[in-house]
């Protein structure tokens, strides 16, 4: 499409402000870790499984260390010490700890350099598994090609992983490029990751490592048949954000929902916790070559899409800069936005185009994830289907990277099998029909569309400068995003945040930073 004339100096200003904001946040994050980051490290060391009470061993370990006030040293450090002391594997340490067979005090005297050597060894091995998955993905992409954009992204959400598979495979045959397995409503607030294959969820299916494996296999198989690489998506989000990132990395997920602010705003997770967790999870994601999808679309489900358009852009800038701090390349930044303008608005389509095209130009290399109408979908499935059609048209016109397909039954239930087929059909019809339309048209200079885009840009810039001034934490306290106010010390999960002490050891953190070329600041 003909480019809109956007005020480049505003773009620069906005990006600068966001960088400053990210730096402030980063400074806050650096000295801190969380229980889930520690559990993540243990998982990557190979600790898996749950005890008799269904509590994951990584939780058992981290909880014990926390109780004993040892967590500030880093869980890896203690597990390594126990390994050496007892001559056990990491898993054996976990199982022993579970029946109180590890005397942590007895391990304390072990010299740090010995533990750390072991720690690095285990970390190298853990990260290797991730690299292997990445290589496998690359091989398959080479074999089948990367596919035409926008990728058609659909969700499955039956609550039962086996049912999900049937739905996912059918969707692939119908033309889906990305399958996202939606998570059950209850999971994001759990401070542990459930275990094994699951068949009972509400509005989604538990994210477990086993479920990831099952779905990954199913998609690889059907992908072989249809000769396309099918991308799998899940949520690195909620109280176990980095653990799930690690699971996703190990099971070759390709896309993960991961947002710096989503949990804070929409799950009332404590802001310190989320911001620390997202930084670590994004390093894993970066290392694994997974694409993130941010969640700015959600803002427009509570706030008004016309009025709050600039908050979406502001948040995208922040997500971008924070992601850079975790080493994520721009081509893996699926920044989110959404088609959520009230369908009764005259010239609503013009505003939608303005927003989508503006974002396209401001983040030219990011894949961009475009979300369909949800809030103004109703029980009128026929109308809903054409709302989705306009959405698909705008996606095509503005060259979005990922089109999350809308379902005509959005106001009712998670998708039925046929809903998805109709929705894929909708997207293919519209996109094929308008394939080169964007190359054909240009927008009036100084017209409604261009003006609207610049207005939004201006407001976003102002907002970012305000946030820079007051700091991100205070901004969230003031309810700048999605009309949601969240206190600095409120919400869930704050008890899982701790200050690292001077002996803190996390070889994954260090290796990842090294590998991702991030300044390693370690106090030795």
């Amino acid at each position: 499409m003909g480019e809109l004339q956007l005020n480049q100096s505003l773009i620069n200003k906005a990006r600068n402000a966001a960088e400053k904001i990210a730096e402030q946040v980063d400074a806050f994050i650096m000295p801190r870790s969380t229980v889930t980051i520690e559990r993540t490290a243990l998982r990557l060391m190979g600790i898996d499984g749950v005890n008799d009470e269904e509590i994951p061993y990584v939780n058992v370990l981290v909880d014990q260390l926390k109780e004993n006030n040892m967590l500030q040293d880093g869980a890896v450090s203690w597990v390594c010490k126990a390994m050496i002391t007892y001559g056990m594997t990491p898993q054996e340490v976990a199982e022993a700890a579970n029946i109180d067979k590890i005397n942590w005090e007895a391990c304390r005297s072990l010299p740090n350099d010995e533990t750390e050597q072991l720690g690095f060894q285990l970390a190298e091995a853990g990260l290797l598994k991730i690299k292997e998955q990445q290589q496998k993905r690359n091989q398959m992409l080479e074999k089948f090609g990367a596919g035409k954009k926008p990728y058609l992204y659909v969700i499955v959400a039956t609550g039962n992983i086996y049912e999900d598979i049937v739905q996912a495979k059918a969707a692939v045959r119908q033309g889906a490029d990305i399958i996202a397995v939606i998570r059950t409503t209850a999971q994001s607030l759990l401070d542990y990751v459930p275990y094994g294959a699951t068949i009972e969820g509400f509005g989604g299916t538990y994210a477990t490592q086993e479920n990831f494996t099952i779905m990954r296999n199913a998609l690889d198989n059907v992908g072989e048949e249809v000769k396309r690489y099918i991308r799998l998506c899940n949520y690195s989000s909620g109280l176990c954000m980095p653990e799930i990132a690690a699971m996703g990395a190990l099971e070759r997920l390709d896309v993960m929902l991961n947002d710096a602010l989503y949990g804070i705003l929409f799950r009332d997770i404590n802001m310190q916790r989320t911001l620390i967790d997202q930084a670590f999870s994004r390093m894993i994601i970066s290392y694994a070559g997974i694409m993130i999808n941010t969640g700015e679309d959600n803002y427009l489900t509570t706030a008004d899409a016309v009025e709050a358009a600039h908050t979406v852009l502001a948040s995208q800038f922040i997500n971008e800069q924070l992601a850079f701090k975790s080493g994520l390349p721009v081509n893996l930044m699926g920044l989110g936005h959404a088609f959520e303008i009230n369908p009764d608005l005259e010239d609503g389509l013009l505003l939608e185009i303005a927003q989508a095209q503006m974002i396209r130009q401001i983040f030219p290399e990011a894949p961009l994830k475009y979300m369909p109408p949800t809030k103004y979908m109703t029980g009128n499935i026929f109308k809903g289907h054409i709302q989705d059609a306009l959405f698909n048209l705008v996606g095509m016109l503005t060259n979005q990277g990922i089109q999350l397909l809308g379902m005509m039954t959005e106001a009712m239930h998670t998708p039925f099998m046929q809903d998805r087929q109709l929705s894929i059909e909708n997207a293919k019809y519209i996109m094929n029909n308008s394939r080169h339309l964007s190359e054909e048209i240009s927008f009036k200079s100084g017209g409604k569309v261009e003006k609207r885009a610049n207005e939004v840009l201006e407001k976003a810039t102002t907002t970012l400068e305000e946030i820079e001034e007051m700091g991100l934490f205070t901004a969230i306290e003031h309810g700048i995003f999605a009309d949601m106010k969240r206190p600095f010390d409120g919400g869930k999960g704050l008890e899982g945040v701790f200050l690292k002490n001077e002996h803190y050891f996390n070889p994954f953190d260090e290796l990842l930073k090294r590998d991702l070329g991030l300044g390693v600041e370690r106090n030795e």
């Binding site: 039956t158 029980g379 009128n380 499935i381 998708p415």
Partner: protein
């Protein structure tokens, strides 16, 4: 999901056996809570559980439109289903001409028309005209077939007269307009006419159209019926094999 019980097949939404169906209709009652209840009761009579009326709209003039979902209690024994199908092997253009040459040893003659007041020629043209349909030649193009396409709005009498005149082996009738069952009237009248003429057994009688299927055609007294998406080779394959079979018996 693992092993499906085909004796009790139910609709599927997202949980095996959930019976999920979508339904829409208009009731001639004014918009309101009573209308909604009427819609719900109707759905229940149709065998739905957990009826959810997701949308209702006042159409004016005391009519109300509904969109609803529910879970149907009925199930179907899929293992017992048998469908009348045309069993002939589907040959291609070359094979068909070859087969006529070899086994019938003369050109076969086919007359076709869209009958009654029905003016939709596209369907019968798709089967008969040179250029055919969907990349498949029409019957006129077959060297071993003499095809006469009388076009649309042809009277049954005229069609039969032409068939007699050219000693047709097969008659092809197209019917597209189906409102108030007008196609059934037209098609039945032709069968009666031909039977009255005493020529029924000499002719292969075939009908087609978007609302025609083989089963219905048999009921109406035709030898075969073809629906949407038919191409010339489907019909030609059938005619040739049927002619050979009849000759044998």
């Amino acid at each position: 999901m693992s092993s499906i019980d085909f004796t009790h097949i139910k609709p599927y939404g997202d949980t095996f056996g959930d019976g999920a169906v979508q339904l829409s209709f208009t009731l001639p009652v004014p918009y309101g809570e009573e209308a909604k209840e009427a819609a719900r009761l109707l759905a229940i009579k149709m065998g739905l559980d957990e009826v959810q009326i997701y949308h209702m709209k006042d159409l004016g003039e005391h009519y109300t439109f509904f969109i609803l979902y529910g879970k149907v209690a009925h199930s179907i024994d899929y293992t017992k289903i048998t469908v009348a199908k045309i069993e002939t092997t589907r040959l291609d253009y070359y094979q068909i001409n070859e087969k006529i040459k070899k086994e019938i040893k003369r050109k076969i003659v086919v007359v076709g028309a869209c009958t009654g007041t029905d003016a939709h020629t596209v369907g019968i043209d798709a089967i008969m005209n040179m250029k055919g349909y969907n990349g498949e030649y029409g019957l006129e193009r077959y060297p071993m077939i003499d095809a006469y396409n009388l076009g649309a709005q042809v009277k049954n009498e005229d069609l039969l007269a032409k068939a007699i005149e050219v000693e047709a082996d097969a008659i092809l009738v197209s019917q597209v307009v189906t409102q108030k069952g007008i196609h059934l009237t037209n098609l039945t009248e032709l069968v009666e006419l031909i039977e009255g003429s005493g020529l029924r057994k000499n002719m292969i009688l075939i009908c087609g159209g978007p609302r025609i299927n083989h089963e219905l055609s048999l009921e109406l007294g035709y030898d075969a019926g073809f629906g949407s998406g038919t191409v010339a080779r489907d019909v030609a394959s059938y005619i040739v094999e049927e002619m050979i079979n009849r000759n044998r018996n």
